[in-house]
Structure formats: C-alpha cells, structure tokens
Symmetry: C2
C-alpha cells in the first residue's frame, strides 16, 4: 500500500501516556495532521488549509470539552459539535479515526463512493449535520440547542465557522435571532485563519472588527489564539459561567498550520497580487513529501519533548498514476477568455464574483478591467441584488458563482431582478454531477429547475470551447432576456466535435452522430461524452444511437424537434441534472405540443436521488449514467460487455476541481 | 363617484404658497395621507400603517432633497429613491399624484389591473425598483450607487427600509459589503415605526441597539425623529459632509401616524396580548369615516396655521358593496385548527413562524402551546435551518411562511435539511395567483418547481377544510419524507365538495364531476372553482368536462392515472402555478411512463408570464384562467356566453388578504 496512516494504536498509546497535557494535545493534533495530509493526497482533492487551522481546536474539543466520546454518539445527553464551513472535514475524519469512530479503510476512502463524503454528511458516524454550503451552521446549531432545552436534555452545542463565512447574511440572521431567543447552550467558534479561498478576508469583504460587531448583537465574545491549548482550556472553562447568552470564540489561527509552506501565501508573478494556494486541492508529489517530512519532524520532536516512546510513523510512497493529459479542454477557460474579448468592445459588461474568481476563471478579466470587476465575497444574495441595481442603471452584469449556491441561495433575488425586465447574465459554474468529490452540497443537479419557471430567462449549457464562446456572445449581444450560462468546471472528458458549419441558433441543437434505432438529447461535455460512449458501444452491437447536442435547456424550436424526432420510436434525454425540471421535461412538453408522442417511448435519464460522492466514473456508474449503463438501458442488450471492451469507453481525469 | 381625492391643483397651490416651510411640508404630507387613505379604502386593501409612518420622510425627500422632480424621471444624473420594504407604496403613489407623476385615475386604481401594483414595480413611472419581498433594497441601491460612480454620473441613491426588515440576513450582507466597497453615495433611511406586521419588533426578534450595530459595520449612523421636518433637513444637510462611507438614518416614526386610532396597538381580549391592527388592510366604513374626519381637521388646522386659503377637500361616501358572506371557508383556518388537534397528542410538533402568525392562522397554536411555538421574525433562512436542527434532534418542525418567500428565499436551506433525511413540514401559505392585489412579489407561482427536484419531498395542496385536515394528518403521521403543504390564503370561492367516502390516498385524486368529452386535473380551492365553473358552463353547451381534484402535486399513482385518462382524448391540467414545474409536468411524465399519450391532446393551462395585479376575477380573466376562458379553450366553442350567463359562474370575494 502506497499511502499509510499513523495507526490508531499509536493514538491510544498517546492518550494513555501520563505526561504534560499540552504536549499530548499538540502531538495528537500533529499526528492527525499527518493522517489528514495522507488521506487528502490519496483522495486527490480536499481542503488542507482549513483542516490544519482547525485541527487544534477540534483536538481540544473532543479530548477535553465534549462528553460525546464518553456517553456515545447517539446519547441524547451528548454534547454536539459540527463544522458549519464543512470543508475542514478531513481533519475531523482523521480525529474520528484516532478516537475509534471511523476505521482506517474509511479514512483512506476520502471522497470515494462508499467512503467519506467531501463535505460533512450525517450518514457518516459522528457527523451531526450536513454542511458544505456556507452560513447555515449557527442557525442549525440554534435549533439543536433549543431542542435540548425543550427536551430537558443536557449537553451543549458547539459549532465551528469560517471567517469568510461571516459574509453570508444568514450568519447575521442567526446571530440576531439566537440572542433574542436567549440560546445560551450554544457556543460558536470562528476558525479565523484570515484567508477565504485564496485571498485575505480583509481584502475580499472585511469582517473586522468582528468582536465589536458580534458583541453589538448581544453575544458574549472572546478572542483567543486558536493554536494555544492552554488558552483554549481557560476560555472554555470560563465560558461555563456565562449562562444567559450565546457565546462566541474568535480563534485566531493560521491557515495551513503545521506545514511551513502551507502557512504562507504566494505572490503571483503576472499580477503581483498575493494569493493563498492551499485552500483546496491535494499537494503534488514534491510538496507531499516535503510536507510529510515536516510533520514527521514535528511529531518526533514533540514525542521527544513529551518523553513518550517514538511514535511509529508509516512510510508513504507516491502512487504512480496514469499521466494526465495536459491538452484537456476546459469550457470554463473558454468562458473566461471570451468574457475578456467581449468586454474589450463593451464597457457595459461588469463582472461580479462571490469569492470563486480562480475557479470561475475570472482573474484574466479582473487584471484587464479592475474597475469593472466587483468582488463581493461570500454573499450571493447581495451580489445578485447588487447586479439588479447595476442592470437598472443600464449596465450588463455577469454574475458568477457555483450553480448550487447561485441558483438556490439567491433564487428570490434572481426572480426579483427578472421582474424588472432588465438583462443579467448568471453564470452557473460547477453545474452538474461531476466532479463528484465535493459531495451533494456542491454538485448542482437542481439549478435548471430553479430557473425554469421564471418567465424571461434563457438557460444554455455549452459542450465545448467553441460553443461556450458562441453562447456567451449570444447572451451578451443577442438575448433580450436574462441568461443562465451553465458551465462544467472540470476538464472535458473528451473534446466534443461540432460540425464545421456550426451555427448557434436559439432552440436548435446539433446532431453529433447518426443512428437509426434511437435518438438521445444531451448537453455539456460530461454527459455528451457518456452519450457518445453509448453510441460507440452500441455501434459495435449494430444498434444505431443518434446523439444530439442540445445546449438550449429551456427553448425548443418546435419545427426542429418535430423533424428530428419524427423517424424515431425511442427518444431519450440524458440530463446532467435531476430528471425533474431539466431539459427532458421541456422536450417532452414540446413533443406533446407537436402531437408527436404517438406510439413512442420517451425516457428521461438523469438523477432521481441525491448525487453520490466519488470519482467521476464510479459515481456515473452508480447512477447508471456512464456510457455502458446507458447503452444497456437504451438497447436492452444485456451482454454488451462481451461485445465491446468497456475500458476504452470511459476516459476520465481524476483531477477534480474543489 | 364615491371616492374622491384632494386635487393636484390644491397641492400646486400649496407648493406655490409663500409661507412657513415646515408647515407647508406638514400640510403636504397630511394631504397625501388623506389621498392614501381614500385610495386604500377604494382598493379594499393596502398597507396604511407604514404608508403613514414614512409619509413625512418621503415628503421631505421629494420636495427638498432629491433632484428628480427637476431633472426628470429618466435623467441619468437624477437622485434615486426607492422603498425596500415596498408595502408603503400607497404613500409614494399619493405623493407621485401630488407632484404630477401619476394621474388621478391611476391612484384610484390601486391594486387593480392596469392600475397601480400592490407593491412597487418599475413599470409604474417614478418607481426605481421592484420590491415587496424584504431585505433586498440596500444591495440593489448599492448596485445603483456603484453604477453612478462607474458611469461618472451625479446623483445620490436613497433607500427606505423597514425596521423588522433588519432581521433579514441580506440586509447585513449588504451593510458589510457596502462599507467594504466604500459606497459613499448611498443613504439608507430606516422607517423605524417599531411594529412589524402586528407585533413590536423588540418582541419578535429585537434589532436594537441598531445604531451600535450598524456603526460597528463601519457606517455613519444617526438617529432622528422621522416626523420632524427641521430635523430631517438638518440631518440630510449634515450628511452631505460625510463622503467616505455609506450613511444610515434611523428615523424614529409612529406606525399609522396621522390618525389617532391607527397610532395605537390594541389588546386582544382572549390572549391579553397586544397587537397592531393597521399593518395591512383597508379600514371598515366606520373607521374610514372617523379617520377621514381626523385628517380633514388636521388639514384645516394646518392650513389655518400656515395662512393659506382653505384646502378644498372632496367628500367621500361609502360605496355600497355586495355583502360578503360570512360563512366562507378558509383552508388555512382548517390548517390552524388541525395543527392544534394533532399537537395535543404529539409533543414532537414544534411550530416556527416568520412574522406571519395571524395570516398563517398560528395564533391558536401559539396560545395553546407557547413553549412549542418559535417566532423567528423575518429571517426565513435562519428559521428553516433552525428547523433542520430541531429535526435532527427528533422533533417535527412545522415551518410557516408565505410560499413565495419560503420556497425561494430559503431554498438552499430546505435542500440542505432534506439531505439529512429528517422530516420537516413546510407550510407554504398564500400559494398561487390569488389574491392578486399584493402583486408579483407575493403571488407564488414558482414554489412547486422550486421543491420539485428535491428527492425526498411530498408536495400537497388541499382543496377544502376536510382535505386540509387529512393532508396535515398525512404529513404528521404517515409521511416518511419531508412534506410541503401548499395552502390558499383567501376565502375559498366555493366550498369544494368531496365524496362521502373520501379517502386521502397517496398519488390518487378524486373525481368531482363526470363528463365524457375532456378531463381536467386541478388542485386547491381557487382553480378547482374555475374548473368547476368551466364544467358548469360547458354542461349547458352539452360538452362533458370531468373535473378531477389532484392534491398530490408530485406523486402520481400510475395505475390510477392510466385508468382515469384512458377513455379521454383531451387531457388538461389547470395549474395555480407556472405551466413549468407544476402538476402538469408530473402528469405528462406519468402518461409518458404508461405509454398513454397516443393520439391525445395534452394541455397544461397556467401562468406563462408574471402574474398580474388586480382583483381575483380580473386577473384570472387576464390570464385566461377563469371558468369562461377555460370552457372556451377546452371546447373550442366561441359563443359560449350566449349559451350561459357568465355572471353566475364567478363569485369572488374581494376581501383579499394582504
């Protein structure tokens, strides 16, 4: 085995050791950091920066403050802890392994199917709340704390938040209401590591002076060093005497704490701006080995200082992986480039970002047009309504966030803007089921349905770079109504080829392959790849599947759909979305309109449950959305594997965005 | 004409009069109050309390501070004012009439089709933003202010907010971001009238000390008397010197200012609790005449004091209306009663409210079980996530708000809770297009689509009291998953009769009438009434329309739908919702599943545009959703009117909830 953890027995030995308490805590946390580092490297993705900044806090909590390890995970009198930001969950998993809640094999299955979700999920033992989208934690903890009082149960509720998370309005809703409702069995700890994603909180959307702010809402607030175990102990001890109001600890921490190069930002040579690199993503091989060395040294030194026999640290070797092709296409890259090009001749274009500028490929625009770039922080509702104000003044706002956050968190604000009949372009990044590592808070499979019933919105998902450029041009120059541009965030599994004479015409899709037995409509690089896989597999079985790229998710030209489907008895729509509220239902309606459903089979294939967490291929297979599953479902041929080798059909990169 | 306004010429005479400035302002505002009072009485609904509290502020602004009346409504250099809370718009309309922006006939068409929307809409001259759902205003104003700077245009942006509105998280998002973004050409004025809906802000969810809070976010904040014109003048003058940060004026005002009995709360005899009565709703005849007298006296006294010739005040007579039947059924009333009954034997039931307890008929529960009632204020996201925490602790939360706010504002929070596989009941009040007076921010025609793609949610809309009781029992005692109970808020236009042996079985609807030529599925009292109207009309034309009540909006029993539709060639679904994402698409999918669309006509009838504002009948007719329009569309018979008298088919109460 290439990746190996410090064994639980070593943690047990440490806990049992009679020695200096503070050193024991430090050593325990450092050993957890080691395991976290290994688990994230093996997973290929995960959030190290805030896992490391929160490690000392949760070590203190579980080993000293919470009764949960004594009374049991299901005991109604237990203390409750969870992380509202959620992406620090690799740290918590490592701790859970160290104290016996999770077995070793699970920790080595981070972000894998049947392993551990990329963000907290209550199906994992010890996890008290599903989190991963920011800002909900204090509200949820408040509910738990209220329930404890109502049910006359002992136990306090502790919730960890980020610092950038304090840009979310719901945080302030919950702070105000918790004070009013006198929720006194609640303690919030802010892991104040100063960086959100890759920039300083104070540069993105400053939350200081946070002590004064939260205090003004009637909370008891203290600010401490979140890496000082004695200060943590003293603070939590003192807070027991505060019994009339909710409590907050602002814990100053260091993002990436424990590995020297992860504790520092870096300065980009092009822009001269300073960014933090370790918010998400696994280290490359070199940094992995460098980081491991530091952690090993630190563990050895602490063990020596404590006087405990040397901690047994396993060897870790780099697993050789199939080399990732460097020429992968990213539609989001094409979007970023096209945005800059269009903006050069259109000074109405204003770009808004919700702290995801790098992922959304907005940095080029930001450097080129700094006075037309609005960084709004993690405040999607404010961003969207601000865009509404810009649009009312005649500007053309291009609003960016991940699809799951933008479409859902700011849904009413989007509707309100749309009522004003202005034009705004909403760019929904990270749309669809892949990458599946981050889990269901991030995978966006409801966004089409959330825009669907707004009367004046056009929803488009392009499948390749060319179509992305044409789609953005359409949105900027042609569309009279609001546009939603739905973009895959990862590398395209294959470059979808469009005909030479390709025209991007509203309501009309493009045939990618011929095939006489069935027709399948899909969109975006991920699912069109699977549809094409199905086509290739079925071709070998003499079953003809016509694959149609349909980027217009809610505009269907009736003549076109009539003509393209009329010779087919088997019609399929493959969604990168729930089967409800996506392209399939629009096509079904269109077919009903043209009275074209006589003696036809119509089948929408997509998600009918929550999207699973895992690698792209394992998750697509789980949901029956990979090429082979599709080919079987469509053709009804069971022994397809014997006809074609499955392995050649699915080529995925595992380098999932975070 | 029974309702008459003080003429614009009288306002002109006052403006031109050379006299004491403060007295002129006071008189102008009082004359606007008079016209507001008349307009709301004529409309039958509207928000008088906060119209009156904000009247002096907007009078000061438009006549003294804003340049808009001089430079014109479309001038790019204009100062911009709008109200974020929006329900105070009758006051603004009266002022717009007084200064010549709106003609008299429009002001007397408040909340009518082609008249003035119940909440602000940019299609009305002078209205700068669509508002009506709370909390978005500062964000939007921030966008406008940013745009002015970017476009190098003069003019400041002023936005009025409520006080209860400061419970919305977006307000704090925008306050934090506006300070960070140094939006210095923005002034927020809080109309701090102390009451939200019908209770004191300090009792619902206290926002004090608001000056300290907002100041801690880096704003320049002052607190003044919002009815003192000299203080207003001095304050706005001084604020011109604050050029480095956003500014906020906390204006202490009196809700209902100007009419003595509207300035006071009343104490309910049953509960002993104190409520405010004039947040919304028109006065009854007696109070109207009493209030008019007070305003007339005040106007006469001010005119005398000012020394201007007596203001010509027109007579207003009570319009005799058809008496409203008192035995009207309200499904929401049945809900409130059933909730109390079920809670008697189930102490897991916890009720959460977002400042709409009276409208949602929760007061009975609150009095019966005060320790199980959580008043969360206008903070829907916090309420929903708090419910998530309660559910995780084994309780059964019943979450209440208006459908448009609950389903949209808290959409991501609802999804997050659902991921945890707990059970929560979301009660979406004021669902559907009627009452149409409040306008599109309140009419909920997207909520089914917003819940649709969440895997573990059952959506139900009952049509009468009996079915409401059965639906709630199902949600509480039988459902394993989350439930959405979609409720009409107004009086049922007719009591829908269900069969004696009615059973409430998942996925199965009930035939209300027979009819051989076409079948129509619908739900809820409003649209079933129209479907039944269509049935009655068509019966006279020898066209048989079978009407089916289908309360299960996303669960269709395939055997049942197969069997009930098989003898029909014409299948209709009538939505109290957008045609997208409602019951129709679920039925269409079900019919596709049972291969049952051969040679059939399938038609979803519902909203394909924004819902109009007006009386129920005029709005239903506008959208072609009234019985007569339906009958024509279904039968294709054009001269139906000559066959049946239209008038007997539509019986509506105009007493719309607010």
């Amino acid at each position: 085995m290439a990746y190996n953890l410090i064994k639980k027995s070593e943690f047990d030995r440490l806990i049992a050791f009679d020695g200096n308490w503070e050193l024991k805590m430090k050593l325990f946390a450092e050993m957890c950091r080691f395991n976290t580092f290994v688990a994230v490297k093996k997973a290929g993705s995960g959030h190290l920066g805030s896992s490391f900044s929160s490690m000392d806090i949760i070590t203190y909590l579980y080993l000293n403050e919470l009764n949960v390890l004594n009374v049991g995970l299901d005991n109604e009198e237990r203390d409750i802890y969870f992380s509202s930001k959620g992406h620090d969950v690799p740290a918590l998993y490592s701790l859970f392994y160290a104290v016996g809640i999770l077995p070793e094999e699970k920790l080595l299955m981070l972000r894998r199917l049947n392993g551990l979700d990329g963000h907290p999920d209550v199906r994992i033992p010890g996890i008290e709340a599903c989190t991963g989208s920011l800002g909900m934690g204090i509200s949820k903890a408040k509910g738990m704390a209220w329930a404890k009082k109502y049910q006359k149960k002992n136990g306090n509720v502790f919730v960890l938040t980020g610092d950038g998370e304090f840009q979310e309005g719901q945080i302030w809703e919950s702070i105000q209401a918790a004070a009013h409702q006198k929720i006194s069995n609640l303690t919030v700890i802010m892991d104040h590591n100063k960086y959100q994603t890759d920039m300083l909180v104070e540069d993105v959307n400053n939350i200081e002076d946070i002590v004064t702010k939260v205090s003004s809402f009637g909370w008891h607030v203290v600010r401490i060093n979140g890496h000082d175990f004695n200060e943590l102990k003293e603070t939590f001890t003192n807070l027991k005497y505060v019994i009339d109001k909710p409590k907050m600890i602002i814990a100053d921490t260091i993002k990436g704490k424990g590995i020297s190069f992860m504790e520092k930002p870096f300065t980009e040579t092009i822009s001269g701006k300073t960014y933090y690199r370790w918010h998400s993503g696994a280290p490359d091989d070199e940094n992995f080995l460098k980081g491991l060395d530091e952690l090993i040294n630190s563990i050895n030194n602490l063990a020596k200082e404590l006087g405990i026999e040397k901690i047994e640290i396993p060897e870790n070797k780099i697993e050789s992986k199939a080399s990732t092709k460097l020429d992968k296409e990213f539609v989001v890259e094409a979007f970023g480039d096209a945005l800059v090009e269009l903006a050069k001749t259109n000074d109405k274009i204003i770009v808004l970002d919700g702290d995801l500028a790098a992922d959304c490929r907005l940095r080029k625009f930001e450097y080129e047009f700094p006075d037309r770039f609005i960084e709004n922080g993690i405040a999607e509702q404010d961003m969207v309504s601000m865009a509404g104000g810009l649009a009312r003044m005649g500007l053309l706002p291009v609003v960016n966030s991940f699809a799951s956050f933008l479409a859902a968190r700011a849904n009413e604000q989007i509707y309100n803007n749309a009522c004003e009949k202005t034009k705004i372009i909403y760019v929904c990044h990270f749309a669809g089921i892949i990458p599946a590592g981050p889990g269901k808070s991030h995978q966006s499979v409801r966004d089409i349905s959330l825009f669907g019933a707004i009367p004046n919105v056009t929803i488009i998902q392009p499948c390749n770079s060319l179509e992305t450029k044409k789609a953005l041009e359409y949105c900027v120059n042609q569309s009279k109504e609001n546009c939603v541009l739905r973009l895959a965030i990862g590398p395209s599994p294959e470059k979808i080829e469009l005909p030479e004479d390709y025209e991007f015409t509203i309501g009309i899709g493009t045939e990618l392959t011929d095939g006489k037995d069935a027709i399948i409509f899909s969109y975006g690089p991920v699912m069109l790849h699977e549809a094409l896989n199905a086509h290739r597999i079925l071709k070998n079985a003499n079953y003809g599947l016509k694959v149609v790229n349909m980027p217009w998710l809610n505009k269907i030209d009736l003549d076109w759909i009539d003509s393209i489907t009329k010779n087919y008895k088997n019609i399929y729509v493959l969604e990168d979305h729930s089967i409800i509220g996506g392209l399939g239902e629009r096509i079904l309606n269109a077919l009903a309109d043209v009275h074209h459903l006589q003696a036809k089979k119509f089948d929408i294939i997509g998600l009918d449950d929550y999207p699973e967490c895992g690698t792209p291929l394992e998750v697509l297979e789980y949901h029956g959305l990979d090429g082979m599953s599709l080919a079987k479902r469509i053709s009804g041929i069971e022994n397809l594997e014997t006809i074609i080798e499955k392995s050649q059909a699915n080529i995925y990169s595992d380098s999932a965005p975070q």
